[in-house]
Symmetry: C2
Subunit: 318 residues, 2 copies
């Protein structure tokens, strides 16, 4: 069945455009109402078949990952999602049925996270399927949690568990069964509830995409501090321990694997109890994993407090 862009927009994508801002996908643009006392938070991330997902993954799972890696950025800033723009560059083998399944994945996540498709662009692609999402959210004026606020004396925290997605990717490549880990690779969980509760508590935050150490390194760079992570405190899931063991080597692999989409953040020591309570209230485990000092860079400390050798802090994009 040949695809007509206009039919696809009307049949498959217009039902996702549930916000007035989308103008029913009948115009060239989205028109966003400004929310009093708020700032607009914008983020964009592209996913490419063969790089960020497997072309053979289920279309609904690909859709959800494309949306969720962007929602994860909003979560880490304390923002509330509003909507997204979607750009699809489609190789010839993508069928209307594939796109309908893809749209069902988007619809499910729109309901789960309360956002709407606002607009986008589709074109043919003489290369791999490429999905680019720009997500938009609102945050109360001045309350966005940036990377640049970490201070010497702060503690370091991370949500959930680290390394599962890396373990899942490895299992997929080695054609091993590891359902829990693979699910974490395929469908990340944006920590939106936790992020909102961290407004006013966290001094700096980001979502872990390049790898825990690499991403904390970004906070250290921008905040002009040193961040020390204690290997023994880094939370690994039982499933990952089964695959990689529990020693410092497993932690090192987990902390440099990337694609976790957990929130790594810093907070003043005095706020420790409130931070842990925020995790409880959001239903997301929060673990204290280290501390912030004067200096630069990031270190992973062994049980003796000695910095471990880290050859590669995280994913490199080239």
């Amino acid at each position: 069945m040949p695809l007509s862009e206009f039919d696809l927009i009307a049949d498959v994508f217009a039902p996702l455009a549930t916000s007035r801002a989308a103008l029913g996908l009948t115009d060239d643009v989205a028109l966003l109402p400004l929310r009093k006392g708020h700032e607009l938070v914008l983020t964009t991330d592209a996913l490419i078949a063969g790089v960020d997902f497997f072309a053979s993954d289920l279309p609904a799972a690909i859709a959800r990952k494309a949306l969720r890696v962007n929602l994860s950025d909003l979560a880490a800033k304390g923002a509330e999602p509003f909507g997204y723009l979607l750009t699809l560059a489609l190789p010839k083998n993508i069928t209307a049925a594939w796109l309908k399944a893809f749209a069902r994945g988007l619809a499910a996540d729109q309901r789960e996270f309360g956002l709407a498709l606002l607009g986008g662009d589709m074109s043919g692609m003489p290369g791999p399927l490429t999905i680019s999402v720009t997500a938009l959210g609102y945050v109360p004026q001045g309350e966005a949690i940036l990377r640049r606020g970490a201070k010497a004396g702060d503690l370091v925290f991370v949500s959930g568990t680290v390394g599962d997605s890396g373990g899942g990717l490895e299992a997929l490549r080695q054609k091993r069964r590891a359902a829990a880990l693979i699910a974490r690779y395929r469908i990340p969980q944006p920590r939106l509830g936790l992020g909102r509760k961290l407004r006013g508590l966290a001094s700096a935050a980001l979502d872990v995409s390049d790898g825990l150490l690499a991403d904390l390194g970004h906070i250290a760079d921008v905040s002009k501090v040193h961040i020390a992570v204690e290997a023994a405190r880094v939370p690994l899931s039982p499933a990952l321990c089964k695959a990689w063991g529990r020693g410092d080597d497993a932690v090192l692999r987990a902390a440099t694997a990337g694609d976790d989409y957990e929130i790594a953040f810093t907070a003043p020591r005095a706020g420790r109890a409130k931070v842990l309570a925020a995790g409880l209230a959001a239903g997301t485990k929060v673990t204290e994993i280290g501390f912030v000092m004067h200096g630069r860079g990031v270190a992973l400390l062994d049980a003796a407090g000695k910095p471990m050798r880290v050859d590669r802090a995280g994913w490199r994009h080239f």
Copy 2:
């Protein structure tokens, strides 16, 4: 020279992030101040090498085209550009020197149109160079010019000349010289000045990207009207007439060629003089080319007022 994403961002792209909203490209997001009494206008368009431009085109020209096709959407809505997000999916043959030249093209257009880079994403691409831009602008509350406002009795107008870009593309493919036409294909001119002046005058507008007839067809669909274009009135440039002649056939080709990035719009007959004055004030020629009636669809009329046969109204994306 191997590319480091972080060095590239700091050296090549951070200097383009001249708005506070970009946070110096040191964070995951851009934070947009809301402008009182305004709506935010959002649009996104991707360009793919081999589809929307030639991989051998100059990097600065590719950059400017990627930005301008998005600015053209803002122009047609009467919006004022504020900034943009940029996603680059880069094949291995793209060098740091190429990216620096690309950034110079962006910098030139940022100065020309008064906008700033707000953020983005870069990744490696096992396929053609793909550039996705999301552009943002502001428009006074309620004054955006949508596609849906055309009314029976309105007149139809277009800015500039039609078909030059199609003529340029043909010359490039046939390796013929046609500098003026090729320049129009390579570097479109977003009609931002005219667009702003059309607020309150135009009843519906869009930018011509798929082809004049196809795009007026979008207005007709959404506004639930019939649009008639008189072939003899469609403005062709001297350069295009030299290549394609001046007859109805040339007009038909020009009106279905696409990539013009002119503004096609409708306005009440009573506003005709003001519309022409707006064109003069903006320094952009505006030509009356037809009229709006009850009914549906779009027609191109010959000198006898008879609808011409149109096999293909414009560019199809698949």
